[in-house]
């Protein structure tokens, strides 16, 4: 054989061998239960993530003081086996079970919860969801670090270096004392001092520690303009002992709230507030501690491995206190992004649960004959809406906004661009047991024209050209085009549409560079407040420029109101104002579109569309509808059909 040919052959064999080796590495026995988690998750650190895919995994790996049930998401005992609430609704005392263990076998104690809560609130942790814990007394001030302290407060100063006996990635050594003064650098202009982003750059903090005054600058270096003797520190915050979250003993945790919060237990079951293992974090450091070989968790499952963009495998945690109550031994969470691929995998039996299907496929499933035994859409706690920029003309006039809302035909939108979604006339979606959301008026073109004429634009004459802004996605585009046509047809006004890529879209929202903009909101917890809180004057997610003192007062006082009925009535009154003033225009409520195989039990539709996996079991011999198909829907979901030809204009 000529050497060249031999060389080529050797190369070929080596290449094929490589391919086979790589593929072999990917081979796995199938898990008991496989579902598609929609994307590669951002992190396994509960404190820093915000997405649903992350939540699905973290809910299984970790367990908080309470956990939320699979059916109606009611708080159930988690690490805390029982709790008491004080009469004023402010103090909760949690009694931890003695048999709760980390996956390395060590006990879960109250100290773990205090460590985790402090870390969660620490602005250096970069927890986007930190505000979910601000119902705790002084928690917000702790999160605001140096901007949250006042002279006379007990403070803690985190130095740059950890103490000598600390683990390699521990936080800096902490000194505690009383803040006795804040000195601003001489000769710095007032607007520089007021700039929140530069707050710490021009200030020296004087702290009295054990009767001795010490000066601190926040940052790695002390600048030359600082007074002599100032020491650098990483951070200065309120003393965590001032925050309403403490360990009374090893197995008792007490939380003290700013105001009675009826959904506090639900929030404690929300995954960002899960406890993390201090030893694990401080031994391996950021980015490394969440790797499979290092991670220590306390939930029903532990992390067996994680392959980027492929799957996460969970295995039952042998140290979990309720291990006998968990039916599944292994779970695979796939990271398949394409909804079509996800559906293909489901249909070929490789996946047992997919969290959504495209509207196109959903339409087919609604009409399938015989009816599907694995598709049962239900209402979800989210609203798709348009926001008006009331700082711009003509949207500063409520009559114009009302006219635009009255001229909207939601039926046409949900029949054309959606599959099963429900037309929305309130901001808070329906389905809460004790709250009937006040609605804005239904479509009424005559009234819309009258209002527009009253506002000075009879038949749309003189009405400036307005623009609808949306982020690029097929469905948003279809809806924007429909609304453009409806407004033009019904009011005779000139409307254009424009799309932006997600990043630019968000910055347009924040800087209020838009006329009318597509938005959506999914509730964080089952209470109208998660929606209504958005539109208080200058709220950080308001972004419409709208504000109303009466609305602000109702939202603020509802927070402090102890009587649940009075509180709900206050929130309803606030929503009535919102639906009268309409700085926003509700369009539709979201609908969940999961598909679950008939042999999966313990999976229930619920408003939050969250489904704990520890509750699942597989029974391939059982007959009859499973919990998914037989559960009472929050709302009947049907496919809206277009009227036959002729009804259209």
């Amino acid at each position: 054989m000529p050497p060249r040919l031999a060389f080529a052959l050797v190369c070929l064999v080596a290449m094929l061998g490589g391919v086979v080796a790589v593929v072999k590495q990917g081979q796995l026995p199938p898990a008991d239960f496989t579902f598609n988690n929609d994307t590669e998750i951002e992190s396994l650190d509960p404190a820093v993530v915000t997405g649903q895919p992350e939540g699905r995994i973290i809910d299984e790996l970790y367990e908080g003081l309470v956990k939320l049930g699979p059916k109606d998401r009611k708080p159930m005992p988690g690490v805390a086996e029982r709790w008491e609430v004080s009469d004023d609704g402010l103090t909760y005392t949690f009694h931890l079970r003695r048999d709760a263990k980390w996956s390395d076998g060590s006990p879960v104690t109250a100290r773990d919860f205090v460590y985790s809560m402090r870390r969660f609130l620490d602005p250096l942790t970069l927890a986007e969801y930190a505000y979910q814990a601000w119902y705790l007394k002084n928690a917000k001030r702790y999160s605001r670090a140096a901007r949250g302290v006042e002279i006379g407060d007990r403070v803690e100063v985190e130095l740059l270096e950890p103490s000598a006996d600390a683990l390699p990635f521990a936080r800096g050594e902490v000194l505690r004392g009383e803040l006795v003064g804040v000195e601003t650098d001489p000769g710095v202009a007032a607007e520089m001092l007021d700039d929140p982003a530069k707050f710490i750059d021009y200030r020296t903090f004087v702290v009295s520690i054990d009767g001795e005054e010490q000066r601190f600058r926040i940052g790695d270096r002390v600048p030359a303009r600082a007074p002599t003797g100032a020491k650098p520190c990483r951070q200065l915050t309120l003393d965590f002992a001032e925050v309403g979250f403490r360990a009374i003993d090893d197995y008792t945790v007490e939380t003290v709230l700013e105001s009675p919060t009826p959904y506090w237990l639900n929030l404690l079951g929300f995954y960002p507030l899960a406890p993390v293992n201090q030893r694990c974090i401080e031994t391996h450091g950021p980015a490394k501690w969440t790797e499979a070989e290092n991670l220590v968790t306390n939930g029903p499952f532990r992390l067996e491995f994680r392959r980027l963009r492929d799957r996460i495998r969970l295995r039952k945690n042998p140290h979990y206190w309720n291990r006998d109550g968990v039916a599944l031994e292994t779970i695979d969470a796939l990271a398949v992004q394409s909804l079509t691929t996800s559906f293909n995998l489901y249909e070929t039996g490789k996946v047992d649960w997919i969290t959504k299907v495209t509207p196109l496929i959903a339409r087919e499933l609604f009409e399938a004959e015989p009816p599907r035994d694995d598709f049962n859409p239900d209402a979800q706690f989210g609203t798709y809406f348009y926001a008006f920029n009331v700082t711009r003309k003509p949207f500063d006039d409520p009559r114009v906004r009302q006219a635009l809302v009255l001229a909207l035909d939601r039926e046409e939108i949900v029949t054309t661009a959606c599959a099963g979604e429900l037309p929305a006339r309130s901001f808070t979606p329906p389905g809460l047991p004790n709250y009937d959301a006040p609605e804005c008026p239904d479509t009424n073109v005559e009234r819309a024209k009258e209002l527009l004429a009253e506002a000075g634009y009879p038949d749309g004459t003189g009405f400036p050209k307005i623009e609808i802004l949306y982020n690029y996605e097929q469905q948003h585009q279809t809806i924007a085009e429909l609304i453009r046509k409806q407004w033009r047809r019904n009011l005779g006004i000139d409307v254009s549409t424009r799309n932006e890529e997600w990043g630019s879209f968000l910055s347009s929202q924040r800087q209020q560079k838009y006329d009318v903009m597509r938005r959506a909101w999914i509730g964080d917890y089952l209470d109208p407040n998660t929606f209504l809180d958005l539109f208080v004057t200058d709220g950080e997610n308001n972004a419409t420029g709208w504000g109303d003192p009466e609305y602000d007062r109702l939202i603020r006082e509802a927070k402090a109101e102890a009587d649940p009925e009075v509180r709900i009535e206050m929130l309803a009154e606030a929503e009535r104002i919102l639906m009268r003033e309409v700085p926003i225009m509700p369009i539709y409520y979201y609908v969940s579109r999961s598909m679950v195989k008939p042999y999966v039990y313990g999976w229930y539709n619920n408003l939050e569309d969250r489904h704990p996996l520890w509750a699942l079991s597989i029974d391939r011999t059982a007959t009859g509808p499973n919990d998914f198909m037989s559960s009472e829907p929050v709302r009947e979901i049907k496919l809206n059909r277009r009227e036959p030809e002729g009804a259209e204009q």
Binding site: L16, V19, V22, V23, R144, R307, L308, T348
Partner: protein, 304 residues
């Protein structure tokens, strides 16, 4: 030859530096940043994020810091996710490469045979039909091919799995769809190359001295006819090894291709930068290998 390689490697470093610089400034010229989200961030958290990723430093300092990192082979950590770029490449590149190699093997063998047959039987029915298929193969985007292939092989014939990674049968469809356009290109290029060579004097000489038609084509004509194919394969290998976002998406392959797209959408600067530089390195080395292969295939070529 050694000095040729060394010189080319020198140029590679310069190319990498230029690519790094251009990408660095292009990325920062785009509005928005990696931490845009629907909810506004608290100013403290935003300031801390910027500090952690050095986004609060002046641009020239960021540039210098990143360049030092890159030079030491540390591609950095993702800004959005909790893994490093090195881990992403370590896990994704073998997958993309395995798929790519299969696709290339398919493309090369099918394309080459089709090209040679077309050239040798120029003008015949075989030639016309093969070249028509090749033209269609080039024109059809691979997601269309993938769609048809899935309907046929997964749902109608039920021969192959729909998607996923971990067994050889899961690789067949993606390799086929990924390789199809390349096969079409190879067929067209090898046909042209072959026709070119078959008209040359040394082929006529070979025929005149009585070599069999098979030996004329395979032994004398093929090596020279391969030259254009090889120069096409260089960049093709670099492209195929770093993965195809579309095919990976459709067949749920955990390769590198998706990260190219997603990091740009997320404005995850370290991932985008790491992948661009990886691609540059691969492209450059493949071109270098192609240049070296020229010398092996064609005795008239000298490395200078």
């Amino acid at each position: 030859m050694i000095s040729f390689i060394l010189r080319r490697l020198g140029w590679m470093l310069i190319t990498l530096w230029v690519v790094f610089t251009v990408s660095f400034f292009l990325m920062r010229a785009v509005p928005g940043g990696p931490y845009d989200s629907e909810r506004a961030l608290e100013p403290e958290i935003e300031a801390n994020i910027k500090r952690q990723y050095n986004l609060d430093l002046p641009v020239h300092e960021q540039y210098w810091l990143r360049m030092k990192g890159m030079a030491s082979g540390e591609l950095g950590s993702s800004m959005k996710k909790d893994y490093t770029v090195n881990r992403l490449v370590r896990e994704g590149l073998p997958v993309s490469a395995a798929l790519g190699l299969l696709a290339l093997a398919f493309a090369f063998s099918v394309g080459l045979v089709a090209g040679i047959v077309s050239a040798v039987f120029r003008g015949s029915v075989a030639d016309v039909s093969l070249m028509s298929i090749a033209t269609i193969g080039i024109a059809l985007p691979n997601f269309v091919v993938a769609g048809f292939a899935i309907i046929l092989f997964v749902f109608t014939l039920r021969w192959l799995p729909a998607a996923g990674w971990g067994s050889l049968d899961q690789l067949v469809l993606p390799a086929l769809c990924l390789g199809a356009p390349y096969a079409a290109y190879v067929a067209r290029i090898s046909r042209t190359g072959m026709l070119d060579v078959l008209g040359q004097d040394f082929i006529r000489t070979a025929r005149a001295k009585g070599a069999s038609p098979f030996s004329v084509v395979v032994k004398h004509a093929l090596p020279t006819a391969l030259l254009p194919v090889v120069s096409f394969l260089g960049p093709a290998v670099a492209g195929i090894l770093t993965g195809s976002p579309v095919i990976e998406q459709i067949f749920a392959i955990p390769g590198l291709g998706w990260h190219f797209v997603q990091s740009a959408i997320d404005k995850d600067y370290p991932i985008a930068m790491g992948l661009v530089l990886l691609y540059t390195t691969l492209l450059y080395s493949m071109n270098l290998i192609v240049d070296l292969l020229y010398g092996v295939l064609d005795p008239r070529v000298e490395w200078k």
